[in-house]
């Protein structure tokens, strides 16, 4: 059986006055029903644009989209606007980061959920309203019948996010795309929302794509993770591997620049130097090379491809360092040796 969502070599470029912005530059991944796929990256890595394109939401006049997106065997990039409207909110639903700007301030919460139902199902207004109330109670809003009658501004941040999840799930979507679903929320509310998404997913066998910059969130939710940098996937593996045996220096950088609750307190953070590149003028060769502590001359000329890691099925990485060297370097990092002091042969070669 083919996967539920299959994205292949997706490219999304935008023509602007300043030049061509390569927001997404050849991204491939697939998600099965009941699976959670995590996309991690910093701002400007293309993580949001790639999923907005899946939803058909980047079809601006200046956008150049190529590659293929297949959902349930159907090509979404070639679908007409009418066909997309049938799919959005029905088969594929999306949760956004900021619930206040994603809910209409002028309409009651219940009415907004009922509208989603009525635009895809042949039901009466009363039935749609009942469905809205049912959804609100499903996502754990107390007194749902009374709350359906309230306006978004009468809800707290966590409740708005729940209302948006209720709206997204009202038509039992097969795929849920969650773009930074908990970034605007407090940790306690975040825990509630993550728990809710997990529960609903196991009940309805929904596929979830979760997009975030928070490594903790994907560690808790995702089955498989893709790390994006400058519009490309630089590493992809199952969740355990990404955290236990990552092979891309950027992934290492991300992991060692966050303080962790479960490591000794005095530990020093190792930031990634520099900053994310401009998507108009990407660095030549490996686009991470200006920030990579292990860069060699050749990396500035050759573009790395996302290739399988030998001996690790399902693990792919786009790095020009030999796999053996990468493993040694990661082992050294784990022992607390900083990138600058790396003893491995990479550095010896550099000295020569």
């Amino acid at each position: 059986m083919p996967p539920l969502l299959e994205v292949e070599n997706l490219q999304v470029h935008f023509e602007t006055e300043d030049g061509l912005v390569k927001a997404v530059d050849g991204v491939s991944y697939s998600v099965d029903s009941g699976q959670t796929f995590g996309i991690v990256g910093e701002s400007g890595s293309g993580k949001s644009v790639s999923s907005l394109t899946v939803m058909g939401l980047t079809r601006a006049r200046n956008a150049r989209i190529s590659g293929s997106v297949r959902f349930n065997g159907k090509d979404l990039l070639g679908a007409s606007e009418d066909e997309m409207r049938q799919i959005r909110g029905n088969d594929i639903a999306m949760i956004f980061q900021d619930p206040l700007s994603s809910l209409h301030p002028f309409y009651k919460v219940g009415a907004q959920i009922a509208e989603t139902v009525r635009s895809h199902r042949d039901v009466t207004k009363a039935q749609a309203w009942d469905r809205a109330v049912e959804m609100l109670s499903l996502v754990g809003i107390p007194e749902p019948r009374r709350r359906a009658d309230a306006y978004p501004h009468e809800f707290s941040g966590g409740m708005r996010q729940r209302a948006m999840i209720a709206m997204a799930l009202a038509n039992d979507p097969k795929l849920l795309i969650a773009d930074e679903p908990t970034t605007a929320l407090d940790v306690t509310v975040q825990a509630q929302i993550l728990e809710l998404i997990e529960r609903l997913q196991s009940e309805f066998d929904t596929a979830v794509v979760v997009i975030t910059h928070d490594l903790g969130v994907v560690a808790e939710m995702a089955d498989e993770i893709a790390v994006m940098y400058a519009g490309r996937i630089v590493e992809k593996a199952d969740t355990d591997t990404i955290f236990a045996a990552p092979e891309h220096p950027y992934t290492w950088g991300l992991l060692s620049s966050i303080p962790r609750l479960d490591s000794p307190r005095g530990e020093e953070l190792v930031p990634i130097g520099g900053r994310p590149p401009s998507l108009i003028n990407l660095p030549t060769g490996c686009s991470f090379h200006p920030r990579c502590p292990y860069v060699r001359e050749a990396h500035k000329r050759t573009e790395p491809k996302l290739e399988p890691v030998p001996g690790r099925p399902g693990h792919e990485v786009a790095c020009l360092l030999p796999s053996e060297t990468r493993r040694k370097l990661w082992a050294e990092l784990r022992q607390g040796i900083k990138p600058g002091d790396a003893r491995s042969d990479v550095m010896e070669e550099k000295a020569l």
Partner: protein
């Protein structure tokens, strides 16, 4: 290290709510509702809590950016909660602030040099232009900015660099205390670490006292010597970082720690996530008794009626709780406690 720099006693800050034709006061948002703590010289004190718990208001009252409703604040033994005019201006030199949003806290129409030199102009410390320029360039060098970029405008800098400009401005008058209100939450992960490392270095080198406000508990643990946990305008637990993160006593602190997503799939899978039900009650009308009782899994009759005082509990934590967590309960719920204690 253990010398007290600031003493805060019974601090209240209520924002009145007016309504009706005569704009009569109908209530008050009790943003800070009876807070007492000490700030020690040279330490980093963390303030954590959910949004609306009063952590930012507390810091702003401390800096006299807001006037306290009542209570006392002393700085180096001197009462500062009611000083005015030139005295207050002199105090401003001792205390500075770093803001959350590096985009809105810098004037886009001024060059970086002017922004950082502003404190000198306001307080008249560096008289000549050349003196100011030299001082600004030295500051830029300290915070890791290229001093040659003196004449550039804020939009020419990235988020992380802008936050460095904010740090340089705060350092200009050689303050004793710096309040950093969510200094890294607007920054990308890889840039966050750069700014955190900078703050830690500066504190070590310049002997600053830092009051660090953040909602990210991992960042707070990394930065702070002591941490105060706030809930609905009160401090509910205060302890050293080590102690707080391995042996939280207040169930609310335990719930916060348990809620933090851990970037370790195996640890994440094994923990019993403690999800707090419901939302924070309204600060206009906080619940009677212990303020946390409406969401607490250990709450009993006494919690609904009697407000627990902040007292020393097992392990030395100050906590306001009738039924503090036991070590066994902590181990079950807080994965960080487990991985640290063995």
């Amino acid at each position: 290290m253990s010398e007290t720099l600031m003493e805060v006693r019974d601090l209240y800050k209520h924002f009145p709510i007016h309504a009706g034709f005569f704009r009569r006061q109908v209530g008050a948002v009790k943003a800070v509702d009876g807070v007492s703590f000490d700030v020690l010289r040279g330490e980093t004190l963390g303030l954590v809590g959910e949004s609306g718990c009063g952590k930012s208001t507390t810091a702003r009252v401390l800096l006299r950016l807001l006037d306290a409703t009542s209570g006392s604040i002393t700085f180096e033994g001197r009462e500062i909660s009611n000083i005015k005019g030139s005295e207050l201006k002199a105090l401003r030199r001792e205390m500075q602030m770093i803001f959350q949003d590096p985009y809105s806290s810098l004037n886009p129409r001024k060059t970086v040099g002017t922004i950082i030199a502003d404190p000198f102009v306001i307080h008249g410390t560096k008289q000549t232009k050349a003196e100011r320029k030299a001082a600004v360039q030295e500051l830029m060098d300290i915070v890791g900015l290229n001093p040659e970029h003196y004449n550039r405008y804020p939009h020419e800098f990235s988020g992380g660099q802008r936050q460095r400009i904010g740090v340089a401005r705060a350092l200009a008058l050689k303050p004793k205390v710096i309040v950093a209100d969510e200094p890294v939450s607007a920054l990308d992960v890889s840039i966050q670490a750069q700014v955190l490392n900078l703050l830690r270095e500066l504190q070590r080198d310049l002997g600053l006292t830092l009051i660090f406000i953040a909602h990210d508990l991992s960042v707070v643990r990394h930065m702070c010597d002591r941490v105060a946990v706030m809930y609905l305008g009160r401090i509910v637990e205060l302890a050293s970082s080590e102690q707080l993160y391995t042996h939280p006593r207040m169930p609310y602190t335990g719930a916060l720690m348990s809620a933090v997503p851990v970037a370790d799939p195996r640890l994440a899978a094994s923990k019993k996530r403690q999800v707090l039900a419901g939302d924070v009650p309204s600060p206009t009308n906080p619940p009677p008794g212990c303020r946390f009782h409406t969401r607490c899994w250990k709450a009993q009759e006494i919690c609904r009626n009697e407000d627990p005082p902040l007292t020393a509990k097992d392990g030395g934590n100050l906590a306001a709780c009738h039924f503090p967590l036991t070590d066994a309960e902590v181990l079950e719920r807080v994965p960080s406690a487990r991985s640290l204690s063995g």
